[in-house]
Symmetry: C2
Subunit: 156 residues, 2 copies
């Protein structure tokens, strides 16, 4: 995926964060609606030999954060993006590499979010994310609220 | 804190997990009711120069998991402890080292939890955790459900 300059820039941003560099994660896929990240199980095993819950949460957060960042950049907006709150359900232990994907929540709209960042300099939106099991079920699911604050916003 | 053999054993368990070893965390305090962990900001900074939300979640999860493990061990129970679900609120950016502490939720009871692990071989309970700001407020708060499954349970 890294040949796309937009994704190369996002990956450089990820890898510049020490806790993310330690995760050995990479961008697996992006189609405009869904961003998928990958990380090897070996870096994320817990005492039970499966993936650490905190790692699943982190990868879902990074996928969601990255998707919001990409959507803002795609319309020329530069903003700081923060996670505001998250609800995570751990549904089954994962004994395979982590594949985390994020998309906009069903009841949210990119158009509304982007218009609000443009008009007010800040906005919130909701994303859902999940970590897949190899058989197609979910190891973990997440719903979270993200806030974007434009870096160059002139209220005048 | 590491001179206490119980905490040395917990720390060895933490450090044996690759994602935890990468966090450079240590046990800061334990008094039977509250377990506090510490991690240096330098290992956890994000693109905004403050602590990555996923790191705050992970440290709160590790503090809660460790507290449940210590309480089970203190009564001679050996169990696998899993995080089942979490709700995290990120309240303020943290530009200092991470101090995460966990305790039992107000409406939960260690006695009930331990009795149930003994009687049924498994039980759930609720913990609260927070990451402190240097001024004493909260950078993040968490409520989460944990499940313990006894390793040697003879239902007969």
């Amino acid at each position: 995926m890294d040949r796309d300059p937009v994704l190369m820039r996002l990956d450089a941003c990820y890898q510049a964060m020490p806790p993310v560099a330690a995760m050995r994660m990479s961008i697996a896929a992006y189609d405009g609606a869904c961003l998928r990240l990958h990380a090897p199980l070996a870096c994320h095993v817990n005492d039970k030999g499966c993936a650490f819950g905190g790692s699943l949460s982190s990868l879902m957060t990074l996928a969601s954060w990255g998707l919001v960042t990409l959507r803002l950049e795609s319309v020329g907006l530069s903003a700081d993006v923060f996670v505001a709150d998250t609800e995570v359900c751990f549904r089954a232990p994962l004994f395979a590499d982590i594949e985390a994907e994020a998309r906009l929540a069903e009841d949210a709209s990119w158009d509304t979010f982007i218009a609000e960042v443009r008009e007010r300099g800040r906005a919130r939106t909701y994303l859902t994310a999940c970590v897949m099991l190899p058989d197609g079920g979910a190891a973990a699911t997440c719903k979270a609220r993200y806030v974007a604050i434009a870096k160059r916003y002139d209220a005048g």
